[in-house]
Amino acid sequence: MTSPATRHPHVGAYLAELTDRLAGLDATGREEIVADVLDHIAGETARLGHPPSTTEIDTILAALGEPAVVAGATPVPAPELPGRPTMAIACGVLGALAFPALGVDALLPALLAAAALLAAVTGMLLDRRNRIAYAVAAAVAVVGLGLAIALWYFWLPVEHVQVDPSGLVGTPIDG
């Protein structure tokens, strides 16, 4: 709902700050709260029966409460299930154990990097609150994995390694 009153700069500033403070909500939830607040302001100004003065607008906004207070009453995001970072690390450890169990005799650095990547990706999926940190960890793990594979292919003397056609297994020939 728009009216001259709801286009008042103080209203605009109030709604802008409220929108900013509701940034943690999904777009639909945020828009609905802001729309309800805007309707409220329009309703209050309509009750006055005349175009509101700036003082009256300020009174209406004061009754609504500071944007920080209104935003503070927003639904608290569902708490992350406990142990999710632990779960991510556990996935990484299990991944590290799974490689040898599957018979993949990869280099230790590659194994560790792959496990770290698995843990980071699991963390990104499970622990959304820290997903940026997990994304960085995943990127580091990818770089590490790449370096480990490069090390394996280019640094180890080829004549001393019997390479499996899959490219994943390297067995020293001459011990």
């Binding site: 909500l25 309800d36 409220h40 209050e44 609504l64 500071e66 944007p67 207070v69």
Partner: protein, 114 residues
């Protein structure tokens, strides 16, 4: 440390206000602004009128209320809130608990006459 009146009220509102809203909506579906005015008549219930709207959002996310648009003679269609079956059940459960709970609180708070 002695808690301020606002701090005590905030704690009390946190556990009860949504059911008060459900009670109002059980009587009749309501437009957010009307609901804010009704609750705002009891300053103990609603400190800042604006805090009602996030609460309504949470109740909608919980499936306790739903919204629909109703034409208004005063302007564009308004979004009204009404109870869902889950909201009705939540209110009934709270009423049952509240009767006993509030009696216990009253009994506990009654000053001794000795």
């Amino acid at each position: 440390m002695i808690p301020t009146t606002d701090a005590v009220l905030e704690q009390l509102r946190r556990g009860t206000l949504e059911y008060v809203v459900l009670g109002h909506l059980e009587r009749e579906p309501s437009y957010g602004h009307d609901l804010a005015r009704t609750l705002g008549a009891h300053p103990m219930l609603l400190g800042s009128q604006g805090t009602l709207y996030p609460l309504l959002g949470r109740m909608r996310a919980q499936g306790w209320v739903e919204t629909y648009l109703r034409e208004s003679t005063a302007g564009p269609a308004r979004r009204y809130y009404r109870l869902t079956e889950d909201g009705r059940a939540a209110l009934a459960a709270f009423r049952e608990i509240w009767a006993t709970y509030s009696a216990g609180v009253d009994a506990g708070l009654t000053p001794s006459r000795t």
